[in-house]
C-alpha cells in the first residue's frame, strides 16, 4: 500500500500567463511513513497537496493511490463556514460512510471545542479550526493524512495528543516549518524548482532547505 508520484507536471494558465508549478516531480510514500515536504512560500506546496489529495489532476504524469488518503487538511479546506463544527463533522462522516454519532463524539472528545461545537465556523479562531479539521480527519481513520502548512496547534495538550495519535498512521506534511517536520516526521523532502528531492536523513533535508 502506497502513494506514488510518477513524473508529475502541473501548470496553470492564469490571466493569460502560463505558470509552471511542478516539472517532473516523482516520489514514493509507503503506508505508515511520516514524511515532511519542505518548501519556501510560492514553491507550489499547496498545489502539490491538492494533487496528492486527488482534488486536482496533474497536467501530465501519474499519481497512483493504493491506500486511503485524507483530503488536504488545512485551516478551512473541506469545511463550510456557515455551519457549526458538529454539522461539518456530520457531513464529512456521511460522505465517507462513517457513523455520524461516533464521529461527533470523537471530535467532541479530541478537539476540545466545548460549546463552540454548536457554533458556526466563522466564529472560530485559527487554532480552533485546525483542531476541528484534524479531529474530524482522525475520526474518519485514513491510512495516510495529508496536512497542508503549519498547523496552529503548537505545543499544546492537543498538539501532543495529535503527535501521539499520528504515530499510528501515515502522514505527509507539507510545510515551511522545519521544527514541525522534525517533530512529526521520520523522513523529509524538499520541494524546489518544481521537483521533489527526498532525503533519508532529516538533518540533511533541513540543511538543504536552509541553504535555499
Amino acid at each position: 500500500m502506497s502513494l506514488e508520484l510518477v513524473d508529475v507536471h502541473k501548470s496553470y494558465v492564469a490571466r493569460g500567463t502560463h505558470k509552471v508549478i511542478l516539472r517532473g516531480a516523482s516520489g514514493y510514500f509507503a503506508r505508515g511513513e511520516r514524511v515532511g515536504i519542505l518548501g519556501r512560500n510560492g514553491s507550489g506546496k499547496s498545489t502539490l497537496v491538492r494533487l496528492l489529495g486527488g482534488v486536482e489532476a496533474p497536467t501530465s504524469g501519474q499519481i497512483r493511490r493504493n491506500m486511503t488518503i485524507s483530503w488536504p487538511i488545512g485551516m478551512a479546506a473541506g469545511f463550510q463556514h456557515m455551519l457549526s463544527g458538529a454539522d461539518n463533522a456530520r457531513f464529512i462522516a456521511r460522505i465517507y460512510g462513517r457513523s455520524v454519532e461516533r464521529t461527533v463524539e470523537f471530535v467532541e472528545d479530541f478537539a476540545e471545542l466545548g460549546d463552540y461545537m454548536r457554533m458556526p465556523l466563522m466564529t472560530y479562531s485559527s487554532g480552533m479550526r485546525s483542531r476541528l479539521a484534524l479531529a474530524v480527519s482522525l475520526a474518519i481513520d485514513f491510512d495516510c493524512y495529508l496536512v497542508d502548512e503549519a498547523l496552529a496547534v503548537g505545543d499544546t495538550r492537543f498538539g501532543r495528543a495529535f503527535a501521539e495519535r499520528i504515530e499510528r498512521s501515515g502522514l505527509i506534511l507539507v510545510s515551511h516549518s522545519p521544527a514541525l517536520v522534525r517533530k512529526l516526521c521520520t523522513r523529509a523532502a524538499v520541494l524546489d524548482q518544481g521537483r521533489i528531492t527526498f532525503y533519508d536523513d532529516i538533518d540533511e533535508a533541513l540543511a538543504t532547505y536552509h541553504a535555499l
Binding site: 499547496s46 483530503w71 478551512a76 473541506g78 454539522d87 456521511r94
Partner: protein, 263 residues
C-alpha cells in the same frame, strides 16, 4: 478485470455517489434555512404563496373561461417555479460549495443533483397541497396525475441541463449570473405559463412550439384538464433538449472543475 468485478466497482461507485448526494441534501437544507422549522416551512410557502397570488390576480382580472383562471395559473406557476428555482440558484452553486470540493468524492454534478432534488421535492409537495386544496373547494380532480408528474420531472431535468450550462457560464464570465436572472424573467411570458397553444393565432402557434417549456405546460394542462381543450406537445422534442443540455452542461462543468482553483 472480469465483468463481475467491473459491475461490483460500478455498484460501489454508485453507492458512494448516493451517499455524497444524501449528505449534500442535508447540508444544503442546513445552510439555506438554518436549523429552524420556519426555514423548512418557507421552502413550501414561497412557491405556494407566489402561485396562489398569481392565480388570484388572474381569477380577478380574466374573463371566464372553460376552466377557472385560478387553477390554471396557480398550478401552472408551480411548474414554472421548478424552472426558476433550479436555474436562478445555479449560478451561486459552485462558489457556495467550493470548500467541499476538497473531498475527492464530492463532484460538481453532485452539488447540483442535491439542490435539484430539494427543489423538485418541495415543488411537488406544493403541487400536491394545491391540488388537494382545489379538490376540497370545488371537487375537481386532475384527469391524469401521471401526465402532471411527468411534466414536473421533465421540467426539472430540462432546468438541470440549463443549470449546468448557466453555472459554467457564470464561472467563466463575470456578471453572467445577472444575465441568467434577467433571462428567467424575460422568458416568463414565452414559457407557456400564461397561455394554451390553441389560444394563439396560427402564425404564433408554430413559433411557440419551438420553445421546449411550452410543450411541458401543455402536458401539465393535459393532465390537469384533459379533454377540456386540445393539447399540443411533442415529448420527443423536449427529451432531445434535455439530452443536449445535459451533454453540453456536463462537459462544461468538467472544464469548469479543471479551471477553478480551490483557493
Amino acid at each position: 478485470m472480469n465483468a463481475q468485478g467491473e459491475l461490483a466497482l460500478v455498484v460501489r461507485g454508485a453507492r458512494m455517489q448516493l451517499r455524497v448526494i444524501g449528505a449534500l441534501i442535508i447540508r444544503e437544507m442546513h445552510t439555506r434555512f438554518g436549523r429552524h422549522y420556519m426555514g423548512y416551512i418557507w421552502l413550501y410557502f414561497e412557491p405556494l404563496l407566489l402561485g396562489v397570488c398569481i392565480g388570484l390576480i388572474h381569477a380577478w382580472r380574466d374573463r371566464p373561461m372553460t376552466f377557472g383562471p385560478f387553477e390554471f395559473h396557480a398550478v401552472g406557476y408551480i411548474l414554472f417555479f421548478v424552472f426558476r428555482g433550479i436555474l436562478n440558484r445555479a449560478t451561486m452553486a459552485i462558489n457556495m460549495n467550493r470548500p467541499l470540493l476538497y473531498h475527492r468524492s464530492v463532484t460538481l454534478p453532485d452539488v447540483f443533483f442535491a439542490r435539484h432534488v430539494i427543489e423538485f421535492l418541495s415543488c411537488t409537495g406544493v403541487m400536491l397541497a394545491l391540488l388537494f386544496g382545489l379538490f376540497a373547494v370545488n371537487g375537481n380532480l386532475p384527469e391524469s396525475p401521471i401526465k402532471m408528474a411527468l411534466a414536473m420531472i421533465m421540467m426539472a431535468l430540462f432546468s438541470q441541463g440549463l443549470a449546468f450550462l448557466a453555472a459554467a457560464l457564470a464561472a467563466a464570465v463575470e456578471g453572467a449570473e445577472r444575465l441568467v436572472h434577467a433571462l428567467t424573467y424575460l422568458l416568463l411570458p414565452a414559457s407557456g405559463l400564461f397561455f394554451l397553444v390553441e389560444w394563439l393565432p396560427e402564425w404564433l402557434e408554430e413559433m411557440a412550439l419551438w420553445i421546449p417549456t411550452v410543450h411541458l405546460f401543455e402536458l401539465l394542462r393535459d393532465g390537469q384538464f384533459g379533454s377540456r381543450f386540445h393539447a399540443q406537445y411533442d415529448l420527443a422534442y423536449v427529451w432531445g433538449w434535455i439530452m443536449i443540455t445535459h451533454l453540453l452542461g456536463l462537459a462544461a462543468l468538467r472544464i469548469t472543475r479543471a479551471r477553478i482553483g480551490l483557493e
